[in-house]
Symmetry: D2
Subunit: 469 residues, 4 copies
Amino acid sequence: MKNSKHSTKLWGGRFQKRTSSLVENFTQSLDYDRYLYLQDIAGSVAHARMLASCGVISTQESSAIIDGLGKIRQEIEDDEFKWSVEFEDVHMNIEKRLTELIGPVGQKLHTGRSRNDQVALDFRMFVAESLASWQKEISSLIHVLVHQASSNLSTILPGYTHLQPAQPVSLAHHLLAYVQMFKRDYERTDDALKRVRISPLGAAALAGTTYPLDQEMTAREVGFDSVYENSMDAVSDRDFVMESLFVSCMIMTHLSRLAEEIIIWSNPGFGFIKLPEAYSTGSSIMPQKKNPDAAELIRGKTGSVLGRLMSLMVTMKALPLTYNRDMQEDKGPFIEAHNTVLGCLQVMAGMVRELGFDAQAMVAALKRGYLNATEMADYLVSKGETFRQAHHIAGKAVAYAENRGAGLEELSIEELKSFSDKISKDIFDCLDYQQAVNRRNFPGGTGPDSVAGQIKRIEDWLNKVQFSP
Amino acid sequence: MKNSKHSTKLWGGRFQKRTSSLVENFTQSLDYDRYLYLQDIAGSVAHARMLASCGVISTQESSAIIDGLGKIRQEIEDDEFKWSVEFEDVHMNIEKRLTELIGPVGQKLHTGRSRNDQVALDFRMFVAESLASWQKEISSLIHVLVHQASSNLSTILPGYTHLQPAQPVSLAHHLLAYVQMFKRDYERTDDALKRVRISPLGAAALAGTTYPLDQEMTAREVGFDSVYENSMDAVSDRDFVMESLFVSCMIMTHLSRLAEEIIIWSNPGFGFIKLPEAYSTGSSIMPQKKNPDAAELIRGKTGSVLGRLMSLMVTMKALPLTYNRDMQEDKGPFIEAHNTVLGCLQVMAGMVRELGFDAQAMVAALKRGYLNATEMADYLVSKGETFRQAHHIAGKAVAYAENRGAGLEELSIEELKSFSDKISKDIFDCLDYQQAVNRRNFPGGTGPDSVAGQIKRIEDWLNKVQFSP
Amino acid sequence: MKNSKHSTKLWGGRFQKRTSSLVENFTQSLDYDRYLYLQDIAGSVAHARMLASCGVISTQESSAIIDGLGKIRQEIEDDEFKWSVEFEDVHMNIEKRLTELIGPVGQKLHTGRSRNDQVALDFRMFVAESLASWQKEISSLIHVLVHQASSNLSTILPGYTHLQPAQPVSLAHHLLAYVQMFKRDYERTDDALKRVRISPLGAAALAGTTYPLDQEMTAREVGFDSVYENSMDAVSDRDFVMESLFVSCMIMTHLSRLAEEIIIWSNPGFGFIKLPEAYSTGSSIMPQKKNPDAAELIRGKTGSVLGRLMSLMVTMKALPLTYNRDMQEDKGPFIEAHNTVLGCLQVMAGMVRELGFDAQAMVAALKRGYLNATEMADYLVSKGETFRQAHHIAGKAVAYAENRGAGLEELSIEELKSFSDKISKDIFDCLDYQQAVNRRNFPGGTGPDSVAGQIKRIEDWLNKVQFSP
Amino acid sequence: MKNSKHSTKLWGGRFQKRTSSLVENFTQSLDYDRYLYLQDIAGSVAHARMLASCGVISTQESSAIIDGLGKIRQEIEDDEFKWSVEFEDVHMNIEKRLTELIGPVGQKLHTGRSRNDQVALDFRMFVAESLASWQKEISSLIHVLVHQASSNLSTILPGYTHLQPAQPVSLAHHLLAYVQMFKRDYERTDDALKRVRISPLGAAALAGTTYPLDQEMTAREVGFDSVYENSMDAVSDRDFVMESLFVSCMIMTHLSRLAEEIIIWSNPGFGFIKLPEAYSTGSSIMPQKKNPDAAELIRGKTGSVLGRLMSLMVTMKALPLTYNRDMQEDKGPFIEAHNTVLGCLQVMAGMVRELGFDAQAMVAALKRGYLNATEMADYLVSKGETFRQAHHIAGKAVAYAENRGAGLEELSIEELKSFSDKISKDIFDCLDYQQAVNRRNFPGGTGPDSVAGQIKRIEDWLNKVQFSP
């Protein structure tokens, strides 16, 4: 037992001194990678099955290993598993316990495999499952937005550019703009998944295994599409994490834009929405407060997730081949981003489901925003003015009406005629907000037929993705 | 002359005062968007054709517009075009000149279009062309790497993990790891392009046009695949820029890793490569210097491009719908990143093409790195030891040899036997580096058949993408 | 003429081949560092004077060099200087020209100096001057904010938390909050300057000069406070750039918050401010638009500057000692950030100076926001309720009044009493907004004496910093 | 009990519905701010004392509160405190328990205070203590570096630029370059602390308190230097967190550079250092491996910390006044960065303390790097050549020697003379590495007197800061 001081490390042969506990705590990755225990066990089961199928170990050995791993999974889920930072990571903790449970045959699980390809497989499985869970929540959020759109087909509000009232749009059309953003996120996730679901097993430490393994079989067993081309790339590639983090940043960017509108719209100066109480909080000082905390936190957490993408990209910059310990810093950022994105998607879907809209407040905003000025210009064009001239005339009319404190539609026909002799009484039809919306009925526009078409197509898409395997 | 102070702005009707020149300079985007003149003109030509095809303007009007635009293009290319910040951006500069050249009919080009959808179209065209040019350079770089790999099939060097010698690999295999990274970049660019090549024309300012336009036709005319679903999304979506910037960051990350290796390998302590003189510089003080400046700059510029992705993501965070002037800050970051990525890809391809490799220096590094220790462990396993025990024994042998200042293969058979009685003379075959490489011949490994397979498949792929339409 | 192919490089002795023009363009830094010509010349003048003072060169030589440099400065300012990328950077361009103008003595300027310490000096001078110019603009902006505060001492508006109306505050107090932010920026800039104004001259390439130079003298000549301690640090330190970029990010963060409020406040739902026309733009489509473009661009450019900080920090990460070519990427980010910060500070000061405030719109917002609810709670506490109970009662009163569509002050005394029998008629004094403001008159609060004190102290500070040497 | 569904929230008066548990979990900040319990209690004790001193509460009430808070602190430290996410944050959890322990008088602690100024105070105290702990670790690391420098005064190694051997330097000088970086970090932390140690108490929710509080007294009680000027700024300022995060990024940047050198230097091609076993790990596959894991993790964690700065800066961008819930996202990033920086500083100090240096390997690197080429050029200058000409000649000599596979000092006098007839036998003195170092003995250079001066000054400084109060 002369080596007792350092016998616990699997690589201790060359070493004379024990790792200091400061360093042990600093270098361990258990805090994060223990969340990968399911993937580690499933990956090991696949590996054991393949080893037996290739004749590298016997069927009995494979069964013993698989049984042992099942027991370990149960122990972890029953919170009876003893994690130890001394064994550095999830892989070593499980392997050590396996050998305790089933004896030396447990060590055969390591045949043809290294921690470098093992951790890459585990993490790819974890990321793949995370992305799939985002897609599920994205489709739920889209579902809720489409439902609110369908319920608000004829609600009209100001469409804004520069946060200034621009042209009237239907609330349905406004909400469907977000649907398009989240649909892109869904599709971007699909694209990322193609590059996540690639099995690195068989790459071993970096140069490839010396055992005749069936890499395609392990890939199939864990539900992956393909197998790595180059072993050095396989153990040093973290593109799949960065790309997934980027996808999460795009989701958060879209959520932050929607959150910003919820925050602005619930200010009394807008008053467009009534915040669901379950998604707001009050103030310990000010009794009248109803704060859009959930929306603010979603907006605020956007910063956290953007920072996490930056974290990993900085870490990966200029690392030589192949594996470097720096890469251990891939899990913390991703796991935190994953939890944040998932929570934000769920909370946003819940909040949007319960949002109440105040159509009257929206009409009031249309009036004070002169949202029919473009219509007046178009009217003048239809009477023979060039657009530039018509734009000029309508601009002067708005300046006049603003000074008088009235809407364009509230000016008298005499006042209106003073801006152009081409104006006659039929201008009042044109100044009506609903008609302005109806007039934009071509595909993609805010008119009712266009909106109905958008809803139809997105519902078809939802049916397809929600019931796909 | 009553409007002289503010008659130059196309939106001046409501305004009493002229924009200050400080503000004019601050808000203009001409510095960047003048680089989009080709796209602006091509987009306008497509729009004019479509307007005529739909009967919104006459064929003669369309022809006059298209002729005028052709003249303007020529003026710009002959450097005779007078750009003016007073007209804010590329669109207004060109439109103003068009009206000068062909009279009031020039204003009809604006029918059914707003600057909001126009700038989105122009920039999508610019980004699409940029991405295509990256793909071209990526495939050139891959071509060069494959060529170097093919020329170095039997050159062996240490494969590193943690920058410590790990196992011998072939130089071809090492270079092919980078090929896989850049191939992923190529494919990621393809995925991004699906979301770039969507025409926003017809969205007008935000609510959709009131003219019966054929949006599919304009999309086809500019070579795009599809048409926006929602007008508010169409004018406020900058996902396509962020995604393209992310793609550029991934390319730079891969280039930075290769650059790092070139820098390290050209240090005399490694001496693996001889830098091409055309890609290095000397020192004004130190006569012996030959600095890997090109590689260092590529590595350094990685930071610039990462910062540019961050720039736009921060800018887009929490912007309410629809267009906000903040979005003007999309062009600077992208154009700079585009130029950087393109330059770095070209320089890297040129440098790799001319790299000389020093096989003798690589062999020296193999010897001093004990790169056959894993082979010794595998040998012991083949003689009946468990892997863990074999690993332990080999570790002790390395510690011993290091103290003696010798390679494992330079120990006597007696010395070797002192570590395990399972060792006999055949161990020396096993300690040979070339055999270690040959033994890893399964798909993805560093062995010669595996490498030949990788080269074959990538050459097929190159043939496909380089001659695709 | 045997060396003609590579005779132009100052380090060409060891090299056989000419740098390719692709690489020459890629590695040159002239695009950015030509902006440092003034600093390069002033630094060289200081160096020449010191060399003469130490007897390393003669006084005549020093005079010839200084005269030559003066001519070059004139040539550059007259746009007659021929920049050439072949000579890589500003230093070599100037040195080359110097030798043309005054003969071989020009080469003596390089004595005891290397490009590594020379570029560090030039850039430190440039950064120091930039920071000083930011301080000047910051103090101008503070001046304008204080002026607006002084002009709006009795204007009352809602103070917001969570963008929900919270408690009434004076407009002066609100504006003075920004004054505090910008004052911190000023002081942070002072702290950064301590670490910028350190002379690296004498460090030579990295190991220190072999000439008996008077480093203190050069430092004094260029207006710096101190001299580097360690030559290797001196040539590889870019902390001063990163810290200055961070300072610029803080300035932009504060500007972005003020810009956001200007944008929100100019929406008609708020209507608190009337945008100066010179700082807004209209729409080419919508005649009624008056867009806060200048404020939006300031907000948007915040992303650009944050990205630039990130750029350099990524570039500097993990660079070994001492100078690496990556560091050339320090100038682009800083120069762009400098221009942006300077422009944004100027435009913001100009815009704030001309902002018109609408006190009536602010009063309307006070009413609809129940901003006297905290006062009602405080009233109940003064009548003997615990604060928690009082908060509860006032909360119920707000809910009641909101349902009735009235302000708290518009409820009848009977209605008010129904919430607590501790309420009597004197509650109406308490519900008055102006009194609510006056009551918060302790230092730091929104009351008039507190605000007057803040203004007094900041004016004293402004007097001090604006007239300091 | 009619309010039972929502009676638990302190702001529940206006609310009809209970917060959903999804939202409760999403909005709670307990996961992070429970780490602030010490500061929360200390801040409350200071507030209670001040309230009594001002006569707002009685001395008995103050004592009861302070006793109660002491008990709570004990409960937390004994792990007997029941944290509940239902009470949202650390402040409410403690206040709730206080009222349980001492009855309704506990509620009086909230007098003249809001969560907005309370959380700002707590976090400022936490950040101030964190920064002080960084300073302690920085001075320890400097101490270790100085000790290693003092022990390696005459060890010579190549100084690098571009990772190419440039000029010989002493190991002491090289290590002292890092000392300068960390000293700047220490001073930068001092500057940040000036802006952290400002008490926001008295700002209440945003507009200032209505109670006659003694804000100076609370500031003194918690060890702060000054009091906020403006209540709205006081509750919405998070500059102090961003500035502290920036300081942490600079520390990490410097650590990453040192880590990079440790990684490169422990590669066998350099072999400059012998890694302490306690700070390295082995491989489960490769028995010969000794990996610089601790250094790699420090380098990798640099990305994490940079990302955290970015997180908060993105979160704060464009937030309107005053408090917004987004700001809750300040604690996670800071606490994680704090733990990382502290751990990295400790591990680096421990590792540097135990680093062994291999002087022979360094000499070997000097020889193969032609580090005396500059000396040869200087020699030629002393014989009357211009520097540029001398540089040219030495460059040619290096090219010749490299082809011959020899050092400059190993060429024969005839060979040397063939490059210039100004060369004679005394050149061999000049080519000696130690003399090259000695020659650079002016302040800041690598010569022995300069290095001794650097060590003396830093030891004086260490004595000053380590024994300051």
